[in-house]
């Protein structure tokens, strides 16, 4: 009997070892050759990053791994050393990320605009009013019980933008969250739009994600505010400092950042969705800033997303001087 036990035990061990080893091997289990990109949800939800991945991987032997979490969490991941590069859109958070020593070689890669969306009937009557005035009207209507507001509530770039807009409009976002018409959903951009649609509420969205879901008929909310500086949305790529986290794939990160800012990368960004939506979702920022093709918007970007008159102050740069030529 003891003899019969041994083969069974051996078999069990063998099966377990083989299955774990084979699965790990087959599915690929090292982080080598991988580039982990923690990213804002808007770039991912629209499908832009899928398109970028296909083009990038035909050019370079690097496997792009996207983790779609929102700007706040993306920065936290990077600070723990769990990401190689981040794609984010919140200049104030980005500056903190540079000054705490985690981020290096920031490059602005694209821009578009946020927009205030709400029900077609627009009960708060914000259509074509300036943003801050529109927010004041939403608060008033909300307190009267006629409208609702949906907030991302996830410390994402869009959420930061929302909070700064409330502050600029003279409200304390912390107090607003306690009011009953203000719904905190703690979700990514696409899910937040769907929830706002469900509640027939107003919300702040990036144009890219809004257009995608609106054109596909997933939401009936309307974009009610035109482009203006208060609603500018600027996307940047920032590599993680190798001195701080020696195991990050810094070279891979910089290859990716260089690709994103190259003519090819910028072309992919600008062309994305044009055919499907009849409109550009993300505008190329590199050519605009270099060639000054649209001085007004270039100036807005400089005022909104530059630190000390540059995308990345020299003390936060590490090699790759050609990026800032």
């Amino acid at each position: 009997m003891r003899k019969t036990l041994i083969p069974w035990a051996t078999l069990l061990v063998a099966v377990a070892v083989v299955s774990v080893a084979a699965t790990s091997y087959y599915l690929g289990s090292t982080t080598k050759g991988r580039l982990i990109v923690s990213t804002t949800t808007s770039l991912y939800d629209t499908g832009l990053l899928d398109t970028i991945e296909i083009d990038f991987e035909t050019r370079y032997p690097i496997d792009l791994n996207f983790i779609s979490v929102g700007t706040g969490i993306a920065i936290q991941h990077a600070q723990r050393g769990d990401a190689d590069v981040i794609l984010v859109h919140s200049p104030t958070d980005e500056l903190k990320f540079l000054t705490d020593g985690t981020g290096v070689n920031r490059k602005i890669i694209a821009y578009n605009f946020f927009t205030l969306v709400g029900p077609e009937t627009d009960p708060a009557q914000i259509r074509n009013t300036p943003t801050l005035e529109a927010l004041a009207r939403i608060v008033e209507a909300g307190r009267n019980g006629t409208v609702k507001w949906v907030s991302r509530g996830d410390n994402s770039g869009t959420h930061s933008k929302e909070k700064s807009l409330w502050t600029a409009a003279g409200f304390d976002p912390k107090n607003l969250t306690k009011e009953s018409w203000y719904i905190n959903v703690g979700s990514g951009m696409a899910e937040t739009l769907k929830k706002a649609d469900y509640f027939s509420a107003y919300t702040l969205a990036d144009t890219g994600t809004y257009l995608k879901y609106s054109k596909e008929g997933a939401i009936t909310l309307r974009s009610l505010i035109e482009q203006e500086m208060d609603l500018l949305n600027v996307y940047s790529a920032i590599a993680v400092n190798q001195t701080l986290h020696p195991s990050v794939n810094f070279q891979g990160a910089m290859t990716f950042v260089k690709y994103l800012t190259s003519d090819e990368g910028q072309q992919v960004i600008e062309q994305f969705g044009k055919e499907e939506f009849g409109q550009t979702l993300f505008y190329s920022a590199v050519r605009l800033l270099k060639g000054n093709t649209n001085p007004t918007i270039a100036q807005w970007i400089r005022e909104y997303a530059y630190f000390d008159d540059t995308e990345c102050p020299t003390q936060y740069r590490k090699g790759y001087a050609e990026l800032y030529g």
Binding site: L27, S29, D63, N65, A218, S247
Partner: protein, 232 residues
């Protein structure tokens, strides 16, 4: 809504039978990861279960109590804990396993170990204790008598393994938090369902994925039931 589900069902069948590479890949990854996690947890869970159900040692009720109370551990709690451990700044960060299938196997194995241990221990304990005494009076050693008892409880053990596999393949928290749902690397059925529901404008695709997941879970249960029927 009924129309959506029917449409989703049709789309699911279409996806499954068209041999769509993403569907095959994600389904295979789910089965491989959760299957490996199950074998791994049986590897260490079976001896523990045998020890606490057949041996009388001080503190065995405490050990049993611990495994019983871990049965209901929330997957997000375990996911968060494992994320902090395997994060590069964490205790095991040097292994660089975060966001790999390997760490998902470890995580799911940890998640289902209490199920393996508690269910198998219960199965063994529910066998008539006289069998062990009978075996001993027939001249069997302690180990031989234990094996005889475990053979009697094979039914319960099979059920425990099936339940563990189902919990592993159906859980979201661990897979999402330490796997990261990276397309082509760590995306499994549950994480794809969660992501696509948020991301896809129409619900057909998530419904299709859900149906595939349900088919797997039911198939495992039916197979196990079939084996148990034949045994008795």
């Amino acid at each position: 809504m009924a129309a959506e589900i029917v449409e989703g069902l049709l789309k699911a069948l279409q996806l499954i039978f068209s041999g769509d590479p993403t569907v095959v890949e994600v389904t295979a990854r789910s089965v491989l990861i959760s299957g490996s996690a199950t074998t791994l947890s049986v590897l260490w869970g079976l001896p523990i279960a045998a020890a606490i159900s057949l041996r009388k040692f001080p503190g065995r009720f405490v050990v049993k109590g611990i495994f019983n109370s871990l049965l209901g551990v929330p997957t997000v709690a375990l996911g968060l804990l494992l994320y902090l451990v395997f994060s590069k700044s964490g205790a095991l960060g040097f292994m660089r396993l975060l966001y790999t299938p390997s760490v998902m196997i470890i995580g799911q194995a940890a998640l289902i170990t209490p199920i393996v241990v508690s269910f198998i221990a219960n199965a063994i304990e529910s066998v008539d204790p006289e069998i062990k005494d009978l075996a001993k009076t027939l001249g069997a050693s302690e180990i031989e008598a234990s094996v005889a008892v475990m053979k009697e409880s094979l039914n319960g053990i099979a059920l425990a393994i099936a339940a563990s596999f189902n919990r592993a393949i159906a859980e979201l928290g661990v897979a999402l938090m330490i796997g990261g749902n990276i397309a082509g690397v760590t995306s499994v059925l549950t994480t794809v369902i969660a992501l696509e529901t948020n991301r896809e404008p129409t619900p057909e695709l998530p419904i299709a994925w859900t149906i595939i997941l349900l088919i797997i879970v039911f198939a495992v249960n039916i197979t196990i039931n079939f084996i148990r029927r034949r045994k008795t």
